[in-house]
Amino acid sequence: MQAVPEWLKSNPMGVEIGTADVFRELASCQDWETRYQRLLTLAERLPCLPASTRTESNRLHGCQATVWVTHAFDPVAGRLYINCDTDARVVKGLLACVLSGYNAQTLEAVRAFDAKAFLATLQLDDHLVSERQNGLLALVGKVRMLAHRYAA
C-alpha cells in the first residue's frame, strides 16, 4: 500500500473543518440565500483534484454534474482519505459538507456517519433524494463500500 498522496492529505474537510464547523457555518442561516452563499464558500476550500485523477474509473455517474472521487487508505493510522471534484460549484459545496464527516476518519467513524441526517440538520437533505441528481448519493454509497472493504 503506497503512502497517502499529499494532494489527498491537503483536503481540510474532516481535519481543519469538521462536521461541527460545517454545522455552525450553515445551520444557523436564516435564509436560503445565505446558506447557499456559504455553501459556495465552503466549496472553495475543497482542493481541486489533479487532472490525472479525473479518470473514467474515478467518475461517479450522476445525471447532471460530473463528479470524480479518489481515495487512499492509511492502514497504519486506520484512516480513509477521500477527495472529490466537480465542475458544478453548488454540488462541490455539498460534497465538501459530506466529506467533513468522511475524510481522514477511521473506518468506524465513516460507518457511523449518517450523511443524510447531517445534511438534514443543514436543511440540505433535498439534495440526497435521487441517485441521478448530483452524484451525492453515489458518493455516500461508494464511501460506505470502501469502509467495508478496508475493514475486511
Partner: protein, 413 residues
C-alpha cells in the same frame, strides 16, 4: 398577425390555470413556476376526478367480466381508445395500442416489427436529436441482427441536416425513426418531408410524438407515417400510460412481443393462437383508470379553442426566446426556426446543475442535465443544458419569473 394577436387576447390563461390545482401550490415556500412540461405536464381537475371516480364507482377488469362493473370499465376503456383514434385522425380505434408510454411503444415496434423484418446489413436511420428512447431500442435491435444504425446529423441551429438525410436514404434503409419535436431543444422536425422521402426509399417510418401531441394537432393519415408513439403524461394525462398508433395492415402482420392474457385467441399446451391487433399487443391487465383518465385529458384539450391556445403558447415561447437573447451571459443551445414547447440554454456563470438548484430554491422548476439525449449534448459540446419547457397554462409572467430567477442565480455564481 392582427388575427393572431386577437386570438391571444381571447385566450384566458387564468381560466385554464385554475383547472390545474398543483399550479396554485408552492415550492420551497415560493409560488410554483412550473417550466418542466417536456418532462411531464400537470393534470387538470377533470383528470384527477376521473381517476378517483373510476376506483370509487367503476373498478373492474376489462374485456372479461360478464357483470355490470366490468361492462362499465370496458366501455370507458374502449371509449378512450376511440377518442385517441379521433384525436390522431387514425383510421379506427383498432390502430391504437395501449402501452406504458412512448418508450414502450418504440420498444414494441423494435421487438415485434423490427425482429421480424430487420436483417443483417439493413440500415435503421434515426436522428442526432433523439431521446435515448428512440436510440437504444434500435441499437439493441441492430446488435442482435447485425444491422447498422445511421444518424441524421444536427446543424448548429439544432435542426436536421436534410441533405445528409437524403444521402443516408441511398443505403439499404428499412426503417426511419425520428422525433416530431426534440425534447431537449424544442426543434420541430420536418416530419412530413422525412416520411415522404422515407416512403420513396421504401422504408417504414416511426415518429416519436411524445413532445408534439400537447402542442400541435397531429393527423397520422395526413402525415403518412407507419407508426406514431406518444405518452399520456405529456398530454395532461396520467403517468405510466402511452399509445402506439400503427397502420392496421402493419400491426396485423406483426407477431406479439409479450405473452399473457388478453393477447391470445386460444391457448392449449400444444399451440396458442393470437388475438387480433390491438389486443395482440396488450398482454395482461392494462392501466384501465389511466386510459379512462387520458380520455378526460383529451376532453380537456378538446375544450380549448385550438387557434387561440396555440397562439398563446407561441406568444409565451417567443417571449421567452426574446428575453433569452437579451440576457447577458446566456447562450441558447439550438435556435431552430421551427420551435415548440421548449428552450434550452446554458449560462456562462455556472454549471447547469447549479443553475437548476438555485432556480429550484426560488420555486422555479426547470430540467437540467442531458435530457436523456447525451449524443446531442456531445454534439453541442456541453455537459447539459437548462431547459424551460411550456404548456398551455404557462404565461409571460412565468417567463418573467424565470428571468428574475436567472438574474439572482448570476449573483451567486
Amino acid at each position: 398577425m392582427a388575427a393572431r394577436q386577437m386570438n391571444t387576447e381571447a385566450f384566458n390563461a387564468e381560466t385554464v390555470r385554475a383547472e390545474f390545482p398543483i399550479l396554485a401550490t408552492e415550492a420551497h415556500g415560493r409560488p410554483l413556476v412550473y417550466l418542466d412540461n417536456a418532462a411531464t405536464t400537470q393534470k387538470p381537475q377533470c383528470v384527477l376526478d376521473v381517476i378517483e371516480h373510476y376506483y370509487r364507482a367503476q373498478n373492474s377488469n376489462v374485456h372479461r367480466g360478464a357483470h355490470y362493473l366490468a361492462d362499465l370499465a370496458t366501455r370507458g376503456f374502449e371509449a378512450a381508445r376511440e377518442q385517441l383514434a379521433a384525436f390522431l385522425n387514425a383510421n379506427g380505434k383498432e390502430e391504437i395500442v395501449w402501452t406504458r408510454g412512448t418508450t414502450e411503444s418504440i420498444n414494441l415496434v423494435a421487438q415485434s416489427w423490427g425482429r421480424k423484418h430487420i436483417g443483417a446489413g439493413d440500415h435503421i436511420v434515426i436522428s442526432g436529436l433523439e431521446h435515448h428512447a428512440n436510440i437504444v431500442p434500435w441499437q439493441m435491435l441492430c446488435e442482435e441482427k447485425d444491422a447498422e444504425l445511421k444518424v441524421i446529423p444536427v446543424t448548429d441551429s439544432g435542426e436536421l441536416d436534410m441533405d445528409a438525410y437524403g444521402t443516408l436514404l441511398d443505403g439499404p434503409v428499412k426503417l426511419v425513426a425520428v422525433s416530431h419535436v426534440s425534447n431537449a431543444l424544442g426543434t420541430v422536425n420536418p416530419v412530413g418531408e422525412i416520411v415522404r422521402l422515407a416512403r420513396e426509399a421504401g422504408a417504414i417510418t416511426l415518429i416519436d410524438g411524445a413532445q408534439a401531441v400537447a402542442h400541435m394537432p397531429v393527423d397520422v393519415q395526413a402525415l403518412g407515417a407507419d407508426f406514431y408513439a406518444l405518452s399520456a403524461h405529456k398530454l395532461f394525462g396520467p403517468t405510466g400510460l402511452g399509445a402506439l398508433w400503427g397502420r392496421y395492415a402493419l400491426l396485423e402482420s406483426m407477431p406479439p412481443w409479450q405473452g399473457g392474457g388478453e393477447m391470445i385467441e386460444r391457448v392449449s399446451f400444444e399451440k396458442t393462437t393470437y388475438n387480433a391487433p390491438p389486443f395482440r399487443f396488450e398482454a395482461g391487465t392494462p392501466d384501465i383508470s389511466g386510459v379512462i383518465a387520458l380520455g378526460a385529458a383529451l376532453d380537456f384539450v378538446g375544450s380549448l379553442d385550438h387557434d387561440s391556445a396555440s397562439a398563446h403558447e407561441r406568444d409565451v415561447l417567443d417571449y421567452c426566446v426574446a428575453r433569452a437573447r437579451q440576457c447577458e451571459g446566456l447562450r441558447l443551445i439550438g435556435d431552430a426556426t421551427e420551435r415548440l414547447g421548449a428552450m434550452s440554454f446554458v449560462l456562462d456563470a455556472g454549471h447547469p446543475a447549479d443553475v437548476g438548484t438555485l432556480l429550484d430554491r426560488q420555486g422555479i422548476a426547470v430540467r437540467t442535465g442531458h435530457h436523456c439525449a447525451q449524443p446531442l449534448m456531445a454534439r453541442f459540446g456541453v455537459p447539459g443544458t437548462v431547459r424551460a419547457s411550456f404548456a398551455v397554462y404557462n404565461t409571460r409572467a412565468d417567463v418573467d419569473a424565470l428571468f428574475t430567477g436567472i438574474e439572482k442565480v448570476k449573483t451567486f455564481l
